[in-house]
Symmetry: D2
Subunit: 483 residues, 4 copies
């Protein structure tokens, strides 16, 4: 049989080059590596332990050599031959150029690119193995889409439309994140906003309203129910179990925006059990937010493999393979244990962040809002600080940003916003009639305790400084008044 | 003012490290490089001559250092902090992680990523400068979309729908390329196929039928007219000038699929003049097919800058910046002259390919189909070869493929295909009622004369071999019959 | 003043490319990096904490751009213009090509290469700072020589010869390491071997014999005294304090082979105090053994800066700069704390190895030889194992080697060897009349506890297996005899 | 048999990952690559055509994986385990760390490093094949020494001394290049300078004086005759044929400094024929000057393989393998044809430079000195320019240097210099009693016609400017005198 990469199988290395006993020792040392390659390709399972960079690159180079643009004597007479003009670009793509999929089906094999095909499918297999291993054993399939989460949600909606051409409504539990909403309008569908229930300080899915809307609009006019797991506190993850039951009961598809939910075991378990009691057609997550790769792709997963092909064949064209490469390299580099460790550390750091935030709040007369079904994001009120000058509190956000803190957001009442013709009152808070401003922070995957400590340092300083300024102003106002 | 990269401005290098006169010589030598950076950023024009890899990487590293994930002491408290787990992945992305755009607008600046923002916008500016320079001075704007051409066409259609919510038909001049068609159905719109006119051996736009359909369906129900420039022979580039006139007359948007048309000066000039006499809203082209980067992105361009923002804000999410990086590096590496040279060589190689194909055809009793308005692809009949066993001729395609020729396609009658519910007779030939099988080849950008020569070598051998086989079969058939 | 690297000082980035407030944040984040560059170059001290790879590469690229072969418009009319044919080679050398030094002086600045000059001198300054920091504050200077330790010792001897042209003897305390001895003969000098004193199981410097030889041969005929610190147990580090006193008393130069002594604080302190009570002209150490870079260079250090120039100017030509680059990158990557940590861990691992070796020995009726003045290497007897078949015990070495253990050596009596005309009895044991075979192992810098644990696993298994084999043989011998 | 690199031999890639027919095509395409690896290792010949960077790196990675420091589960218990602390350093060395050779023999195999051993020996084999192919078929062997040419010459002298311990004189035909001379003193030997004959404007070997010195000093006291081929005009290459005859006649070794002579076919042929009529023990050349790699190594070659081992075993220690890697990658990248092309172009560019220099000289009343046996370097007089102010003419050199011209040297009378106790009158001119200043330029391998054109542009401008200044000065001097 032919071979694809260099090896010494049929080479008689002369003794003049290296004594045979030294060579044999070197060759023997490769066995475990060989086994790992064989196992990966044959079993398509994520290795327990991460691989070295060298081993990963060896695999990647080998795959690239199977693509036609890398054949030593290729003759390209077509309009798309994966010629790469810049050496730098070729190098950073390991000479992959052909992308993945075939004229409008992301999962089809590409005849010009056996290596890219293998790369894409292997990546999907490893992601599936990862997803199953972290708590979603019922997951039936998944694949990477080299577009953002929002566009991938749009793709899912478009594929559903082909099945339900008469349906135009998407019942959507409000979450104030633009792309999530725009995913509906981009598909040319009609969003029906289901406001959250305000319970204590937190926001929960209004399942009853979902039910009512199904009845009032009629099952056939509804394309799907659309919920979100990971979100900014004090909004909780949607009650996807209850919505799944509705989905099952009425046979309306259910789409879950699981943007950064793969990193939290609570959400993962919620998905698994929701599927058991009801129906979830697709759950979609961002690669960058969950797998620590650069922004650029999302993962569509399903408990039903066949529906995935509908999504894949809705993508009109051949897609970038670069994101699959990023995910493949990252998963091989981490291994199952590496990813599990990151998840565990994230969980611990979330608790560490919450406990410290509570202490911080208590000392300053604020509270951490009680969003128990949110295991990633936390919200702390800015009531005492804001007083009656709520808008000025937004300054806190930019103070933090200026000092290197990214990702903390200040939400104040009165920020209305219109997106594609739909008006959202108090945008950013996931609700209308917000009274108390607050700040959200999150413990995302990869965060370190050191970062959390630094954050509180900076947060304390900013708080003190803002307070000082405010009191000075009040004082001078008082003085002015007295005079 | 602050500095972003290392330089010696405020550093007093001690004489102990290097004699000052040697150092000064080294510093002086950097001036032209400095000037090139300044000019690029201030004028946003493509350099005349290509840059060295070292210079390109210096710029790219510098830009990356402006993104928040690369700040030395960053504290990430959000859900998306562009942490990159694998060193290999970080390295191949030059530590860029944040992608481009901001929650649903590809052209907005990203507060966490000044460098990525700069990268994306600079890339768009250079592409615009390139497009204007090669023959489209009226082009008003353009931007790179990190999705395939088909999905980008869908995005354009989706943005048009926001402007014309009541319209559902897309009038589409038939071209047998799947993604082009699926771009319509993916958007949930209704394609109206306008078959081509068969004139001599070639296929041309049926402008009259376009006009009739506009009248019969009604202007308000039509979302847009949709034409294609670059295509496989013997289909010609659509008569976009005439369709543009209809577009202007009836005020119906006009979308042009210019997949690989940027590489051919004939098509470029056709676009420029069509706009002068009529209306083109968007023309969309593949980055990989025109700019020699890996598959993964397309460029939307327009003669009207404002409509581009509608497209950009239809993308639901934050997108991959990797494709912008590829295009930026490639354009800087080529320079204006490098790209022009590639275009010129392609033009010459097309003529070389055509002349040789004609000679090849003549010797074998075949003809090269006369598609004068196609300056990239050519079709040669396989009549004598096929005889009455047309299907068997597809074997020629795989014989070529097996010998390293990619991109040559054999088209035989009778290949019907249904895509998203629409049936296409004789799919691949852009027409119904195909009589004679043929083979297409293309002279794409980057092709070399050496490749063309090799192709004819291989083609001749395969032809001979097939002929031999066929005759043997005929002979043995005869023999069988005689017996 | 001119600038060498890209920065935004004089560039007016248009708002169209990036909003100024985002840009300013990005620029501000560079300040600490800027400060680190400035400090490094101005103060020439090793940073406390290691730098990121990105920062290191930025510095290196910047330095390379100062070399004439990297000037954008250079014109090379000489015989040595540092042109590099292979892109891969250029890339791995960061485009450095000119090497260091100038026709026969390693420390002179190279007019064609301000960057290489800076690189080499900065590296030397950082090594000096490191050496002083880890316990040798009196060290006056040092520099890297891109040759192995042995050749560098030869270079020192050659430079001494220029000062003492009439002297031909080198008084050398025996150590059975080939290069150390060949360093003398390579220089064309006459070695006078001073055998070690055997005290208990360990070997110590015979200071009295040194004294006698000085008297008998005459001071003027002796080029230098030549001692060794780091060595294989059970030889101890030479008593360099006492030899230094002789050196001072008789005004004979003293050269110390400190091959891998920089990693052990005991040896470092020994050097510092020996210099206080006596005289050391040079101490020479391997870069790879101490600084964890690839094999290829050594460091000459002295308590007297002026004598270093004699060594540097003895090197006949211009030398490779590649080794300086390795050391620079490594030191910046580790920082002072990183290196100190490695030293501390090594110390702990040595104790861990010794304790486990003692337990291993005790259980098997062997002993760990008592070489108290050796804090890197350890020797365990193989008496019970060997019995009367000493030669067969060498098999243990290859068994370990085959199982991935490298660096363990088995020494057996009777291995005589002649090097450049000098015969050494029981070569490898640093002594004559060896009785008991033994095995040496070392805890070198970078060793991990995990490796030590694995070693004992493998060692135990091999021991068991060998013992089994031996007993079987004895048994069968007995049987044979009986029969 | 075991395999060292990934391949698909024993891997059953499931159809789910990639269709088998696509995969087979990809695998088949690797055959020519496989063949090239096999051929290289089995035949150890330089490939006719250069390899792609990807292929070269695949080979290099494969070799590195054979070294013990890259075994997946290695346990390092020695003092030298090739641990590499910095990822950047490891990457740039492709994880090679062990260097080449074994305690004092550069050509011995290293048990810990089968890959490095193979690398070094393969490199030497390819260099030998190259040397033979370009005109030295009688060359019997050669090897790369990772030291500069000067130190390598010293190494040769040291190895000769072991054979001729009583001899101390080195008869050396004067050439004013420091390292060449210092190579003798570094070895502790006594140089006997043989001044050149001044014939016309050029300098030639004084063969008679060589003969006289042999007679007067006595054969046994002479270590070797030492000549130089490549040198600055107007000195010619030494008459090595005649000196070789002396060497053979008197049985005195003959060492040739062939620093950059491998690039000139005239010198190559001179060496081949000198060996036929006489004796050459070693000829030594710089890798960087001839093979376009960074400074750092030299090549010792001989017509007698056995004497090479003496040199290799004189190197005291284990040496850097980095230079072998550079040369290997460069030779594979160029191939035999690539190197031959560079040699041919150099030859043409030398003629182009000479013709233009002659025209330049003629127009300005100067001459190009007639050094017919120098096919690399040229000298043009600066008589008219200098007038009676010869020293001021050195300014011309720095003017050229400031404008980016490197390698041009101005030689003026009166520059005496003492090196290691030997005084050289008119140093730089290879002679005493220099009358006319001159400038030398060289056409080294890799020079382009564009560079030569630029040089004359700059040279003309500097000439004009200097002349202007000089006349102004003379005028003002006249004026002063008149007053």
């Amino acid at each position: 049989m032919t071979q694809s990469q260099m090896n010494f199988n049929n080479v008689n290395i002369p003794e003049k080059l290296v004594p045979d006993n030294y060579l044999q020792l070197g060759l023997a040392a490769q066995r475990s590596k060989q086994r790992s390659f064989k196992e990966l390709l044959e079993k398509r399972k994520l290795p327990e332990n991460g691989w070295s960079d060298e081993r990963i690159e060896e695999l990647v180079h080998m795959l690239a050599s199977l693509d036609s643009n890398n054949y030593p004597h290729k003759v390209g007479l077509g309009e798309r031959e994966a010629r790469i003009a810049s050496k730098l670009v070729a190098r950073r793509h390991y000479n992959f150029g052909h992308g993945i999929g075939r004229s409008g089906d992301l999962l089809e094999a590409q005849p010009k690119a056996a290596g890219s095909t293998l790369l894409a499918r292997l990546t999907n297999a490893l992601i599936l193995d990862l997803i199953r291993g972290i708590g979603l054993p019922s997951c039936a399939g998944c694949f990477l889409v080299p577009m953002c989460t929002g566009m991938t949600l749009t793709l899912c909606l478009q594929s559903l439309r082909k099945r339900r051409p008469g349906a135009k409504y998407v019942l959507w539990s409000r979450i104030d994140q633009k792309s999530c909403f725009k995913a509906i309008t981009a598909a040319g569908l009609e969003p029906v906003v289901i406001p959250c229930l305000i319970q204590g300080g937190s926001l929960n899915t209004n399942v009853d309203l979902f039910r009512e809307k199904i009845k009032s609009l009629g099952v056939d006019s509804i394309l799907c129910l659309y919920t979100t797991t990971s979100c900014f506190a004090p909004r909780n993850s949607d009650d996807i179990a209850e919505v799944s039951k509705l989905s099952k009961q009425w046979q309306i598809p259910h789409l879950v925006n699981n943007a950064y939910g793969l990193q939290a075991k609570e959400i993962v378990h919620q998905l698994e059990s929701a599927n058991r009691v009801g129906r979830i057609d697709f759950f979609v997550q961002s690669s960058d937010k969950n797998l620590l790769v650069p922004v650029g792709s999302a993962i569509v997963a399903s408990f039903n493999e066949s529906v995935l092909h509908d999504v894949a064949s809705t993508y009109a064209g051949r897609a970038s393979g670069s994101q699959s490469l990023d995910v493949l390299m990252t998963l091989l580099s981490l291994g199952r244990n590496g990813f599990q460790l990151l998840m565990d550390q994230r969980g611990e750091n979330f608790i560490y962040l919450r406990e410290n935030l509570r202490k911080f709040a208590e000392l300053r007369g604020e509270i951490v809002l009680d969003s128990r079904c949110n295991s990633i994001s936390l919200a702390i009120t800015l009531a005492t600080m804001a007083g009656d000058q709520m808008k000025s509190i937004t300054q806190l956000g930019s103070m933090l940003h200026m000092r290197g803190v990214s990702g903390a957001r200040v939400i104040v009442p009165g920020q209305n916003k219109t997106i594609d013709g739909h008006e959202f009152i108090d945008f950013g808070s996931h609700r209308s009639n917000l009274q108390v401003p607050y700040l959200t922070v999150a413990a995302g995957i990869g965060i370190t305790q050191e970062e959390i400590d630094k954050f509180f340092d900076i947060f304390s300083k900013c708080w003190r400084q803002l307070f000082q300024t405010k009191n000075d102003k009040t004082m001078s106002l008082l003085e002015t008044t007295i005079k």
